[in-house]
């Protein structure tokens, strides 16, 4: 199966710190991969590179055949990104976020229906016109997932989408991931929550100190045996 995300020897350096040290990663169309690991393992940095927000220091990163370094705008058109922190402009409303994204992503007329549907699914319909500065952490996370998914991107990048989210929000996020896979998108989920990663993804990659230390079927990470195996990989 062709890979929509193709990462080879990715290296990201911030000053004297190597945040990512030679990661290889492939996510085929219609599949989902979980990025697991401790704080500072390089998960969010990898996601930011794939979203076109951070340029890679070294290696090759392609999204649907577009080099993220030279064709950043095309990559941004193809991806939907939920950042690990915040993700919302404090003084804009959810609807204004959606209007901005729809305009810049050149969505045809009629996007409003899907946007409203997603807002309802994430229990944000009543807050669609409220300034997001007053949102709780969980509401902000849910809205970030809506923004990442509503234009039906070919590559869905969800960084800590379950962090502080209530069970209904988790359920809605799982549905979004399943929908994306069903329409042939590649999904990459970064999370600390192993069990949710197992539930959402087919593959799991464990990062440690900026390097990938394991790439296994997600089911191998489930249950007590999976927890033990995962724990062993973190040290």
């Amino acid at each position: 199966m062709s890979s929509l995300v193709d990462v080879s020897a990715l290296w990201v350096r911030f000053g004297q710190v190597d945040a990512v040290r030679g990661i290889d990663l492939r996510v085929p169309a219609g599949s989902s991969t979980g990025l697991l690991g401790r704080n500072g393992a390089g998960k969010s940095t990898t996601m930011r590179v794939l979203a076109g927000v951070i340029p890679p220091t070294g290696g090759l990163v392609e999204v649907a055949g577009h080099d993220v370094r030279t064709d950043t705008l095309a990559v941004k058109r193809l991806t939907g990104y939920c950042p690990d922190v915040g993700g919302l402009v404090p003084r804009a409303t959810p609807w204004e976020h959606l209007q901005l994204a729809a305009r810049l992503r050149r969505l045809p007329d009629g996007w409003e229906e899907r946007a409203r549907d997603l807002l309802e699914r994430f229990d944000l319909g009543g807050a669609a016109h409220r300034v997001t500065a007053g949102f709780s952490h969980g509401m902000g996370r849910r809205m970030s997932v809506v923004l990442a998914a509503f234009h039906e991107p070919r590559v869905l990048l969800l960084d800590e989408p379950f962090d502080g989210v209530d069970p209904l929000g988790v359920e809605a996020t799982m549905e979004v991931i399943a929908d994306a896979r069903a329409r042939g998108a590649a999904v990459l989920v970064s999370t600390h929550l192993r069990e949710l990663a197992v539930e959402a993804c087919e593959h799991a990659i464990v990062l440690r100190g900026g390097s990938a230390v394991a790439a296994v079927p997600a089911r191998e990470m489930s249950g007590e045996a999976g927890a033990g195996a995962y724990r062993a990989l973190l040290d």
Binding site: R48, A51, G52, V53, I54, P55, R69, T72, L73, A74, K76, R77, T79, Y81, C82, P83, V85, G86, G87, L88, V89, P90, R91, A92, T93, W95, E96, H97, Q99, L100, A101, A102, R103, L104, R105, A128, H129, R130, V131, T132, A133, G134, S144, L147
Partner: protein, 540 residues
């Protein structure tokens, strides 16, 4: 199972028992609380200093050294200038003229300190709201921190240097040290008193219909000032200002009348300490009232608008929302749009002097948020940067919004100031307009340059937050004030020229230079490495 009542902390909505109230106000408890709060200031200062790394630490040390040196020079050198009292070839006339203005200048420190701290909702924070939430920082510590931070403000520093220098000029070299003691104490009293006034204003503002009460009070004060100006009673009133006592004490000190000097020094010291204590009480009262209008705006509902017609319009809308939906920024812009205009209205400045005003407004606006423009996106910066749009268009939108905000405030202040300035000649009118355009461009190009090269993670939701650390703000404000004031003065010269085209001829290269600098910065912003650094920083 037996139910055992579990003791809990009383809710904030529960009435406080009389005994508890009495206990809370027990003098010993208040005193020990005050001592503890004072002790807490030092660790907070250390915490702030620890946030500085390498070069920034050196720059901060140099900054403090520079401020200290300039203060000493301002308080000492003018005593030896030609025309100063007691100097060779001393002109009694010059020093007497300056002496007559000194009480008003002393009062100016108080006015500047009140405006600065009241506009920022109680002065600057030693520790931001977000950082402070994990620490038991008392309102008294917060108050003392705000007092310490108050002098890190270019307007306060300049006015203080002016009064110290003018006092030195008036008293001359003999007994200069003793003369400056009451002036330094007055600076302390004025700052502490300003803090009291700003806490009181903030307490009222956070109460029911508080914003309207504060607006009404400000309007009433402005109307009273207008009446005083219109009836020519402002100058006689200023001559009666209590700050005359400060001047007399300075003169007593320089001439060795120690008893009189000592009495005023003791009164000033006692007044300063009383103001610090009263400020702490008010700060505590403020901390018990939620910031209603900020909370209201943060949870406000905005009716949906039609879809934006272009990418630029979409970006402009988002950028404008970041400014106009922010209570502190709106308040700051209102102060900038009204205050310089009202002051010049009171002083009946002529059109030639109006060329200075746009510089004040543009610098003030830039310092409100412009010098760290990307922080307006807060944690949404990462998401915004993941959208498929040219970085140059994003940059253009930010420039346009900053330009329109600064020009709008400038227009407001110029309209007010022009009410008593009479009819301008054509060269005067063109000079003022050109000055407005040039200094706005200078402020915008400087702001965007700093925004791209030195971003800071700042939560601008608090009125007390500054877009950059206080010492950096002093540097920015000094540079902006120098550039824009100098430009304004150059346009005073062209306003006197017989032909209006001199102003245009001067403005053209200056505008083009600022535009060139903006283009250069836009190139830096377009660089993915630089942009990612800015985004990662402001997104925190």
């Amino acid at each position: 199972m037996r139910q055992v009542p579990v003791p809990t902390v009383p809710s904030s909505t529960e009435p406080v028992p009389r005994a508890a109230r009495t206990r809370r106000l027990a003098p010993r408890r208040v005193l020990s609380g005050g001592v503890e709060a004072t002790r807490d200031v030092l660790p907070l200062l250390r915490f702030r200093a620890a946030g500085l790394r390498g070069g920034a630490k050196r720059v901060a040390a140099l900054g403090f050294l520079l401020i200290g040196t300039l203060t000493v020079l301002a308080a000492w050198l003018p005593a030896y200038l030609a025309g100063a009292a007691g100097s060779a070839g001393s002109g009694v006339l010059e020093s007497t003229e300056v002496m007559l203005l000194l009480p008003s200048a002393y009062l100016g420190v108080l006015v500047i300190a009140v405006v600065s701290s009241a506009a920022s909702g109680g002065g600057r924070e030693l520790m931001t709201r977000e950082q402070g939430v994990a620490f038991p920082v008392s309102s008294t510590t917060d108050h003392l921190g705000a007092l310490l931070m108050a002098p890190l403000n270019i307007a306060w520093l300049l006015q203080s240097w002016v009064v110290l220098g003018a006092t030195a000029f008036v008293v001359g070299p003999t007994g200069l040290l003793a003369a400056q003691v009451p002036v330094l104490l007055w600076l302390f009293v004025a700052t502490a008193l300003a803090q009291v006034i700003s806490w009181a204003a903030e307490w009222v503002r956070r109460g029911p219909r508080g914003a309207w009460v504060v607006r009404g009070t400000v309007a009433g004060l402005a109307a009273a000032a207008a009446v005083l100006v219109a009836t020519d009673r402002l100058v006689p009133l200023l001559d009666e200002a209590p700050t005359v006592r400060v001047l007399l004490a300075a003169l007593d000190g320089s001439e060795g009348r120690w008893l009189l000097w000592l009495r005023t020094v003791a009164i000033l010291a006692a007044a300063g300490l009383a103001a610090v204590v009263l400020g702490a009480v008010l700060a505590r009262a403020v901390s018990r009232r939620p910031a209603r209008d900020e909370l209201r705006v943060e949870s406000s509902v905005r009716p949906p608008r039609a879809h934006p017609a272009s990418d630029l319009v979409a970006l402009l809308r988002t950028d404008r929302a970041g400014i106009w939906r922010s209570v502190p920024l709106r308040r700051g812009m209102a102060v900038l749009a009204l205050l310089p205009g009202l002051v010049s209205l009171a002083g009946a400045l002529d059109w030639q002097m109006l060329t200075i005003l746009p510089g004040l407004v543009a610098s003030g606006g830039a310092l409100l948020f412009g010098v760290n423009s990307w922080c307006l996106d807060g944690r949404g910066a990462l998401w915004r940067d993941s959208l498929p749009v040219s970085p140059l268009l994003v940059f253009t939108s930010r420039v346009l919004v900053l330009l329109e905000v600064l020009l709008l405030a400038t227009a407001g202040t110029l309209v007010l100031a022009s009410l008593r300035a009479g009819l301008p000649t054509l060269p005067e009118l063109v000079a003022v307009l050109c000055a407005a355009v040039v200094v706005t461009m200078q402020a915008v190009s400087g702001s965007l340059r700093w925004s791209v090269r030195r971003p800071f993670a700042v939560d601008m939701r608090s009125a007390r937050a500054t877009p950059a650390p206080p010492l950096v703000m002093v540097g920015y404000s000094a540079r902006l004030a120098f550039a824009t004031t100098f430009t304004g003065m150059v346009f005073i010269a062209t306003s006197r020229a017989p032909d209006w085209r001199w102003s245009v001829l001067l403005a053209l290269p200056l505008v083009l230079f600022s535009a060139y600098r903006l283009v250069r910065v836009s190139g830096e912003w377009a660089d993915p490495e630089r942009r990612s650094l800015v985004i990662a920083t402001v997104a925190g």
